[in-house]
């Protein structure tokens, strides 16, 4: 059995980040994009915790907690925007929210 090394954590983080980015690019649903962003943030969290563990100090973990708080705030604001989007357009598809373009 191979031991789980830093590289594995970083790879998992990169995988999560890639998934998040793909979600942001491919999804048209505003909630999906929000989830993608959460995935990106959490990929960063994985990296932070992994490096904290690797260097044996708590700096990374503290950052990770700040990121979680940030993500919560962001989710709250984003959901509020999405609700307003829905109220305005009757849908949460972001492609329809193109009034500024016209």
């Amino acid at each position: 059995m191979y031991p789980i090394t830093l590289t594995h954590y970083l790879a998992a983080g990169a995988f999560l980040f890639a998934m998040g980015v793909v979600a942001c690019i491919a999804r048209r649903n505003a909630v999906g994009i929000l989830i993608g962003i959460e995935l990106i943030l959490n990929a960063a969290n994985v990296n932070l915790v992994a490096f904290a563990r690797y260097w044996n100090n708590l700096d990374g973990e503290v950052f990770a907690i700040i990121v979680i708080i940030l993500a919560a705030c962001e989710a709250a604001v984003a959901l509020a925007i999405i609700i307003n989007l829905f109220r305005g357009f009757g849908t949460v598809e972001v492609d329809y929210a193109s009034k500024l373009k016209e």
Binding site: V21, C24, I25, I33, V94, S98, L100
Partner: protein, 741 residues
């Protein structure tokens, strides 16, 4: 001398009076009542009184055996010509004009006033005739369109003429000389709406200008040698043997002095209408008749005679001979033309030319060496008397023309004596004076003197006998054509009834000058005994002396031959001068006798001939004309002089002008046009470059910027995921690019 200042100041006043009148009238004649003619006339009247004062002073001085000679000059210009400087360095030498040093720096041109007997006489002549003509014009030109301009020109003319006779040097004389010519031009062209008048003005101006070129050359020759323009400096210079270098022009050998004198005489020929430059004077009759009287009979045309008289000592004997021959030819030639003229003024014009020829003849034979002193004297004396009676003749003809409503052909007149009694009486006096009616008229004395001098000259130099005979013959012609004029105009039956009925005597302003001039044409003016001065001399000969350059044997103890030889003259003078004092103003008795008998004979012959043809009509004029048809045609065409000029001068000139025009058109214009074309082509090229290359570059930049913008705009979709995709793609690309592991 206190008197000197007094007279010089009078001279200045005489000069300034008409000048002031000219300025005032020329500027303000539109605002002045009667266009200011009263200013011009009254100012000239004052000048006349002042001239008479000077004249009286001169006579007074002569009565006390003194000659009036006053001189004042002022420094005017500084000319630093090399010759003028060399005059200063040459002071140590023999022939330097000594009057200059100590007074002015070298090269200074001094101008001034010279008042001597001749000037005094000329002042009187000019002011008298001017005043009378000014007065006459006020009636003759009443209501003329350019009345004010006319008087301004007259006044300017009088100013210039007075300046001319007051000058003490050739420079200001030349300036005034040109000014009188200019005034003549203006006044001949007074009625310039008529093409003939405008042409005549131009002809007069150009013809006299041709002579003036010679005069200018003469003056410059003199100045370049002498370094001064003043008469006295010039005379002193030639007296000391200056200007004797031999110069050859056109194969003719002559001293520098000779050529300068001939040059001066060319100017006199133009101005005094001497053959062959006489052609302008008959045409000048296009001007108003008072102008003809003043300028073209009495004063301006006499300026040439005055010049020759004033510069007389400067003229070497050869030049004087030239003067004499030109004068004789002119006198005879124009007298023959006057025989056949129909226009009353043309007859008088040719008569004037003829009389001017007499004056030149007199001056020409009046040389100091081998000449006849009386010739000089009577030449200038004839100028004086002629001024009065010829001005009178012109004013009389003006009176006739005025009465005849500007009809000038004598064949339209006839019997006018009854209608114009005063004009006729005065005209008769003038005519008798011109023809030389014995003893009672002034013209007799002076013309007789000239003829006598020419005859005596012929006795002294047998090869030049022709001069005297020509003069005598021309006198007979004069008598004939003048009585032809009288008979045709005043006698016989009226040939134009309408004109005759409307004829009337002229107003007093025209009659009065005629009366005054008639008095001045009477015998006392020319007689020896007038004013009871001296026993034998006339008043004129006491006033006007021939200046002498030749040292008299008594003074210099030089033999006559060597004195003559020193001046490069023929020794003829010495042998003939023996037994007769060279300076005597009296003619030899036999010459005097011949002239007297001859001139009375030809006078009577002319009178009787004219009477037979035109009064009694025993001989028909047209029969004579038919018999002598070639001669008649020749005379009618004025010896073909105008044709000759047209063929020899004007036509070649026009041909020359034509060629010059061709050169202008095909060479100069071609060059100019080529450069114009080249400029246009270059500009086109540059224009294209601007349009294509410069503008192309600018437009290209703009277009490519726009194009790039259009392309790049495609990436700006406004969708965040596209941006993220590009971001990721870019990040991935960078990752792969810098992947070094």
């Amino acid at each position: 001398m206190a008197m000197a200042d007094y007279f010089i100041h009078l001279c200045i006043a005489i000069f300034l009076l008409p000048l002031t009148a000219f300025v005032v009238v020329a500027l303000f004649h539109r605002r002045l009542p009667r266009h200011g003619d009263w200013i011009v006339i009254s100012f000239m009247g004052v000048a006349l009184i002042l001239a008479l004062v000077i004249f009286a002073g001169a006579l007074n001085a002569a009565a006390h055996q003194q000659a009036l000679r006053q001189h004042r000059s002022w420094e005017w210009l500084l000319l630093n010509f090399p010759k003028a400087n060399s005059a200063e360095t040459g002071v140590a030498g023999a022939a330097a004009p000594s009057a200059l040093e100590g007074v002015s720096p070298a090269g200074a041109v001094r101008v001034g006033i010279l008042l001597d007997g001749l000037t005094a006489v000329m002042l009187v002549v000019v002011t008298v005739v001017s005043f009378l003509v000014f007065l006459y014009s006020s009636a003759y030109l009443k209501g003329d369109v350019r009345y004010g301009r006319y008087y301004a020109c007259l006044s300017l003319f009088a100013t210039s003429m007075l300046g001319l006779v007051l000058s003490d040097n050739l420079l200001t004389l030349y300036i005034f000389w040109e000014l009188v010519g200019f005034c003549s031009y203006l006044l001949i062209g007074h009625w310039f709406e008529r093409k003939s008048a405008a042409d005549a003005a131009i002809k007069a101006f150009i013809t006299t200008r041709i002579g003036d070129v010679g005069m200018l050359i003469g003056i410059l020759l003199i100045y370049s040698s002498v370094g001064s323009f003043r008469y006295e400096d010039i005379f002193r210079y030639v007296q000391e043997g200056g200007m004797s270098d031999s110069v050859s022009i056109l194969g003719l050998e002559g001293s520098l002095r000779f050529w300068a004198a001939v040059g001066l005489f060319f100017g006199a020929m133009g101005k005094s209408a001497q053959f062959p430059l006489h052609v302008w004077l008959p045409d000048a009759m296009e001007g108003p008749t008072p102008v003809s009287a003043l300028i073209h009979a009495a004063t301006m045309v006499a300026a040439g005679v005055y010049l020759v008289g004033r510069m007389h000592p400067f003229f070497p004997p050869e030049a004087l001979l030239f003067v004499a021959y030109i004068g004789a030819i002119t006198a005879a030639l124009s007298a023959t033309i006057a025989l056949v003229m129909d226009d009353i003024k043309k007859v008088l014009a040719y008569s004037t030319i003829s009389q001017l020829g007499y004056m030149m003849l007199g001056l020409g034979v009046g040389g100091e060496v081998g000449g006849v002193a009386a010739g000089f004297l009577f030449g200038l004396f004839h100028l004086t008397t002629h001024a009065f009676f010829k001005a009178g003749l012109f004013l009389g003809s003006g009176s006739v023309i005025h009465a005849a409503h500007h009809e000038q052909s004598m064949w339209q007149y006839g019997g006018l004596a009854r209608k114009l009694p005063v004009t006729f009486a005065t005209f008769l006096i003038f005519t008798l004076s011109l023809c030389g009616f014995p003893y009672l008229t002034s013209g007799f004395f002076t013309k007789d003197g000239i003829i006598g001098a020419a005859l005596q000259f012929g006795m002294q130099h047998p090869s030049h006998r022709i001069l005297g005979w020509t003069a005598l013959g021309a006198a007979g012609l004069t008598s004939f054509y003048m009585f032809r004029l009288i008979f045709l105009t005043f006698f016989g039956r009226p040939r134009n009834e309408h004109l005759y009925h409307h004829a009337h005597e002229s107003p007093w302003a025209m009659v009065l000058p005629l009366l005054v001039l008639a008095v001045l044409s009477l015998g006392f003016v020319g007689s020896n005994r007038t004013f009871g001065l001296l026993h034998e001399d006339s008043w004129f000969s006491t006033l006007v002396k021939r200046p002498s350059l030749v040292a008299h044997p008594a003074e210099s103890a030089l033999p006559a031959e060597s004195a003559a030889a020193a001046h490069g003259m023929e020794p003829v003078a010495a042998e003939h001068g023996a037994g007769h004092t060279a300076d005597s103003i009296h003619l030899l008795p036999e010459a005097h006798h011949q002239a007297l008998v001859g001139s009375i004979t030809v006078f009577l012959a002319g009178l009787i001939g004219a009477a037979l043809v035109y009064y009694f009509q025993w001989i028909r004029a047209d029969a004579i004309a038919r018999i002598f048809r070639p001669v008649y045609v020749l005379l009618l065409n004025k010896w073909y002089m105008d044709h000759l000029y047209r063929a020899c001068v004007i036509l070649p000139y026009l041909v020359f002008c034509y060629f010059i025009r061709l050169v202008d058109t095909y060479v100069i214009d071609a060059v100019v046009n080529f450069w114009g074309w080249a400029g246009r082509a270059g500009a086109w090229l540059v224009g294209r470059m601007d349009l294509e290359i410069v503008d192309g570059a600018v437009n290209g930049t703009a277009w490519s910027t726009g194009f790039a913008g259009r392309i790049l705009r495609l990436t700006q979709t406004g969708q965040v995921r596209n941006y993220i995709l590009i971001l990721v793609a870019g990040a991935t690309a960078l990752l792969l690019l810098f992947w070094k592991i």
